[in-house]
């Protein structure tokens, strides 16, 4: 079995894995990182979205061996201690979750979306989140939350912000 080394939310793991093991199953079943849920088996729902080296990926569509030597950030690694990430706060403030099952993936995808456009329009957010499905909210509040999170993230001083975002998605 291949042995991989992967950092997840700041902790380095060495694991022997079957080549076919999905990253999401490595996270959930082996590492106990159950904050990242699974909503489908075809890569459509986005519930399993995590950051892999700073870019969002659907962890059900990535093999654990592909993450070898890489850095993974999940929803569990976003907050700094008790201080939530602005996007987590924004989802709470805007009531952008009901059952919360889609929320980890939504938040990760939202943060990724802002790399391209730090102040997205409603339409940009809607299109950018196309790969993340929510059955509860009708998306109105999610769109509001993402835009609010974006504003709050850019309200930090500009140089600090670049660095900070980098840190947020890479290593908490």
């Amino acid at each position: 079995m291949p042995r991989i080394t992967v950092t997840v939310d700041g902790i380095t793991y060495q694991e022997d894995v079957e080549p076919r093991l999905l990253l999401v199953h490595l996270l959930r079943d082996r590492l106990g990182k159950t904050g990242t849920p699974i909503g489908c088996d075809t890569g459509n729902c986005g519930a399993c979205t995590v950051m892999l080296d700073g870019m969002s990926v659907k962890s059900c569509s990535v093999l654990a061996v592909q993450a070898d030597g890489n850095d993974v950030v999940t929803i569990e690694g976003l907050a700094h201690g008790n201080e939530w990430h602005p996007m987590q706060k924004a989802f709470h403030e805007e009531h952008a979750l009901q059952c919360g099952y889609c929320t980890p993936g939504m938040i990760m995808a939202a943060i990724d979306l802002l790399r391209d456009d730090p102040d997205p329009s409603e339409e940009t957010v809607r299109e950018g989140l196309e790969g993340n499905l929510c059955r509860c909210t009708g998306y109105c509040n999610i769109v509001r939350a993402v835009r609010r999170g974006a504003r709050e993230m850019s309200q930090r001083s500009m140089p600090e912000q670049a660095e900070q975002t980098e840190r947020e998605v890479r290593t908490p």
Binding site: P37, D41, H92, C99, G100, Y101, L129, R135, G138
Partner: protein, 862 residues
């Protein structure tokens, strides 16, 4: 008409009803509190059932039938048993003596056919996806691998897919008894008189396509035993009902069985079920003495989570030339699928009382035949029977308006119950306690800019713009808050509709609330805390709400049918009142005053006219010490309450939307969507708005995107999220929502249910808009989901003959979709005798529910 509307008047009305609804001194109820449950959800510290890992846990995978209908002639599990990591392999035969039959708790008629429903098929399979064998292994990959090694031989039988064909003479049979499950009839008034010589009759048939509820969390089950007691974790809406039903099905004594609903990722009715996997999970853990887990894949879920809707609705309206409705007749075929599950037969029956909508009429007649087919059983899906009913009446009202050349809003105004007429007993015998359809509609018209859009529509019609504009109207009410146990009993439902709560003050002054409701996204922890904070005068943050575990919350009826707040929330309030009564007695004792002289405000019990008082926290501590209590006072400040309301709750509202339809491509674009809902008084406006948003999205999804498709052999073609299209953010617009408030009179908070309203209202609003856009083309219906292809084909089919012009009036077509709008002999003037407002009830003849003979005579027409 809307633009002249006096917004001030509406505001006044709302403010007035606001005052009525707020208990004095209240400050938490009505506040947009951010939710308590969010903290664990946004940080990934959730306990979904699939997150649960227990020592020695084994994983279950099911082998499912690839055939829609077949006899099982052989199952060979021997090779699978030798696969690595495999602990056990079972076929249906292995469970035959102990698995019992999955329950149906709603035998709607006395002669209903309830076929045996083994959790794992033993002799015959009746839908694709039915479990025929399972593997138990040390991890989920190994369990899935070993499924391949199980051999099953099938002898194919004929699939039964179409309801009309299923009822025809000589059809292959799903069950030996035939394909008819029941026929249920219900009537009020003299329907023949209403239709006799009616100047206008609208007669339409609508297809309610089959839907897949698609909660984002797939189902999961963890079952474990210590040899004597059993614990079942399940992604369920109904831990309490489930416990009773599983005890009855498996023979595990109820007091040895604990059911836990951990964090549950949405339900929408799909987790209101007693599933094969729950029963089998318990049986497997009983055999192996090890904890077992099963988590469904989405594909498995699309095949085997019960489906929703799937009805063929024939609706006729008899009316006068002035548009006043005389009578409504409904003849329904409801696809049960292969078996009757927990409340399968009751779903269309819940709709039976809603086809009259918000309108007055003299007569009503309803017949529903439940039909077996070789498909996944149907059961509750958001709205359960009421969206179907609302769709049919609201679509047919638009047809009637068109027939008469009336504006659809005007037609509704002429027929609806006016706000002075409440409480109003409908032709179905329900008493709508409160409402103001005028206020909600006026507000919605103003928000949409109705008149302006009508002008734009006329302009586009004049110009023959290839992109036409349609305006969709849906004025709805619904019965929810399930609810009065007596009424549910009269409908042959197997359980009551009460709800339980207990409230206890802890020694440190904090409060624990136990509720029988079982939230899975609805925010009960927050809303119940608001209710308690006001009732007991304690801080919002000092309240914890416990739920979803039968050993913590021992008594409950769970969450569905928009019942949690209107039944469960009131139980919480009543338990608080009992706690306060107890506290008052103690305060009187400690303050050496008479209990009559004690007043309570903001958490403190005071002797009237003095400053001396005790806070509820001080009293809680005093009962803990119990050193100085009144005689016969039981130590502790706690109380239980069980609430069973006298009536359902009747939220209502007006949803309007404007849709652009590109007649050259069939593409539709929702330009604006306005929803004005009246859900009575509001505990948390943020949560209410969220429920409305989500509900609208699901209703739009039925109108535009979703359908569970089976081919003629009974194979499902929409097994993945790539085929069954639930809308994404880019498929939906922003919604404009607002509220009017007429408090319910059936409960002390004045609240009405909100969970299903959006879904009930939005589907007809959307389809009405699309049809409205296409009226000039002679189009009178577009079957759902109104995909671009289907819209385009409808335009093409109608278009052969067709631009019938921009006028709203005078078209008696409707042949494009095979429907006929029959216009009776042109009686001048209206001869309908409507009687005095509010007297309809006296003329209502509540004859249902009665078992009756079939409707074969009608069947041939479909």
């Amino acid at each position: 008409m809307s633009e002249q509307l006096d917004a001030g008047l509406i505001a006044e009305q709302i403010a007035e009803s606001d005052q009525l609804s707020r208990p004095s001194g209240a400050h938490e109820v009505g506040k947009a509190r951010r939710r308590k449950e969010d903290a664990r959800l946004v940080t990934g510290r959730t306990t979904w059932t699939d997150n649960i890992q227990l020592p020695g846990m084994l994983y279950v995978a099911f082998l499912r039938s690839p055939m829609a209908h077949a006899r099982i002639t052989r199952v060979d599990t021997s090779a699978a048993r030798t696969r690595p990591g495999v602990v056990a392999v079972y076929s249906g035969q292995d469970f035959a003596d102990e698995q019992g039959s999955l329950p149906c708790a709603w035998p709607v008629t006395e002669d209903i056919v309830i076929p045996d429903h083994p959790p794992m098929a033993v002799e015959e399979v009746r839908y694709v996806g039915e479990a025929v064998a399972c593997v138990v292994a040390t991890d989920r990959y190994k369990a899935a691998d070993a499924l391949e090694a199980i051999e099953v031989d099938y002898e194919p039988l004929d699939a039964v897919i179409d309801m009309t064909e299923a009822l025809a003479e000589g059809s292959p049979k799903v069950h030996e008894t035939g394909n008819k499950a029941f026929t249920w009839k219900f009537a009020g008034g003299d329907i023949d008189a209403a239709f006799r010589d009616a100047p206008v009759v609208i007669d339409r048939t609508y297809v309610q396509q089959r839907l897949i509820p698609t909660a984002m969390e797939p189902r999961a089950v963890v079952a474990t035993t210590d040899g004597e007691t059993f614990t079942l974790y399940s992604s369920t809406q109904i831990p309490h009902v489930l416990r009773v039903m599983l005890a009855l099905t498996t023979g595990i004594p109820e007091h040895k069985l604990r059911v836990i609903a951990p964090d549950v990722g949405g339900g929408f009715g799909s987790k209101l079920q007693v599933t094969a996997e729950e029963v089998l999970g318990l049986l497997i853990t009983r055999r192996l003495g090890k904890p077992v887990k099963w988590t469904e894949s989405r594909t498995e879920g699309n095949l085997t989570v019960h489906h929703g809707r799937d009805q063929l609705q024939r609706i006729s309206i008899a009316a006068g030339r002035d548009g006043l409705i005389r009578g409504v007749r409904v003849d329904l075929l409801a696809d049960m699928g292969a078996y009757l599950m927990l409340v399968t037969p009751g779903i269309p029956i819940l709709g039976a009382f809603m086809y009259n909508g918000i309108y007055k009429m003299d007569a009503y007649d309803f017949t529903c035949t439940g039909v077996f087919t070789t498909k996944m059983p149907t059961d509750a899906y958001r709205g359960a029977g009421r969206p179907e009913a609302t769709f049919a009446i609201e679509r047919a009202m638009d047809e009637l308006a068109h027939e008469l050349g009336l504006d659809p809003i005007e037609l509704r105004r002429r027929n609806w119950i006016t706000h002075e007429e409440f409480p109003y007993t409908t032709i179905c015998g329900l008493t709508y306690d409160s409402g103001n359809y005028e206020a909600a509609t006026d507000r919605a018209l103003a928000l949409l800019g109705y008149d302006k859009l009508r002008a734009e529509q006329a302009d586009r019609r004049d110009r023959r713009d290839p992109v036409q504009l349609g305006i969709g109207v849906s004025t709805f009410t619904e019965m929810c808050g399930l609810a009065p146990s007596r009424v549910l009993g009269s409908l042959s439902y197997g359980a009551g509709g009460w709800e339980h709560s207990s409230v206890r003050m802890l020694p440190t002054g904090k409060v624990e609330v136990v509720t029988g409701t079982s939230p899975h996204g609805q925010g009960h922890e927050t809303a119940w805390s608001q209710i308690v904070a006001d009732a007991l005068g304690v801080p919002f943050d000092d309240v914890s709400v416990l739920h979803g575990d039968t050993s913590i919350s021992h008594k409950g009826m769970d969450t569905y049918g928009s019942r949690s707040l209107v039944v469960g929330g009131i139980a919480v309030l009543q338990a608080c009142e009992k706690v306060k009564d107890k506290a008052r007695e103690l305060a009187a004792h400690m303050l050496e005053a008479s209990a009559d002289d004690i007043e309570f405000a903001a958490g403190t019990f005071k002797v009237r006219g003095t400053d001396s008082g005790k806070t509820i926290q001080e009293l809680a501590l005093a009962t803990f010490a119990a050193h100085d209590l009144p005689d016969r006072f039981e130590p502790g400040l706690d109380a239980d309450a069980t609430f069973d309301p006298d009536n359902f709750s009747f939220p209502h509202g007006t949803h309007l939307c404007a849709i652009e339809v590109d007649t050259e491509t069939g593409a539709t674009k929702i330009r604006s969507y306005v929803a004005v809902d009246d859900v009575g008084s509001v505990v948390n406006p943020l949560i209410v708005e969220g429920q409305v948003h989500g509900g609208i999205a699901q209703g739009i999804a039925q109108a535009l995107f979703e359908e569970a498709v089976y081919d003629s052999e009974g194979n499902m073609l929409t097994t993945t999220m790539a085929d069954y299209l639930i809308p994404s953010a880019s498929d939906l617009p922003d919604f404009t929502t607002d509220r009017t408030e007429t408090p319910a009179t059936s409960n002390p908070l004045g609240v009405k249910g909100v969970g299903e309203a959006g879904t009930i209202a939005s589907t007809p609003a959307i389809v009405n808009a699309i049809v409205d856009a296409l009226r000039p083309y002679g189009v009178h219906d577009v079957r759902m989901p109104c995909t671009p292809e289907r819209v385009w084909r409808t335009v093409i089919a109608a278009g052969e003959t067709a631009w019938v012009g921009p006028g709203l009036a005078g078209n008696t077509g409707g042949t494009a979709e095979g429907n006929t709008a029959w216009v009776g002999p042109g009686l001048a003037g209206d001869t309908t005798d409507r009687g005095e407002p509010g007297t309809a009830g006296d003329r209502t003849d509540w004859v249902g529910p009665t078992a009756a003979e079939g409707t074969e005579a009608e069947g041939g027409d479909r």
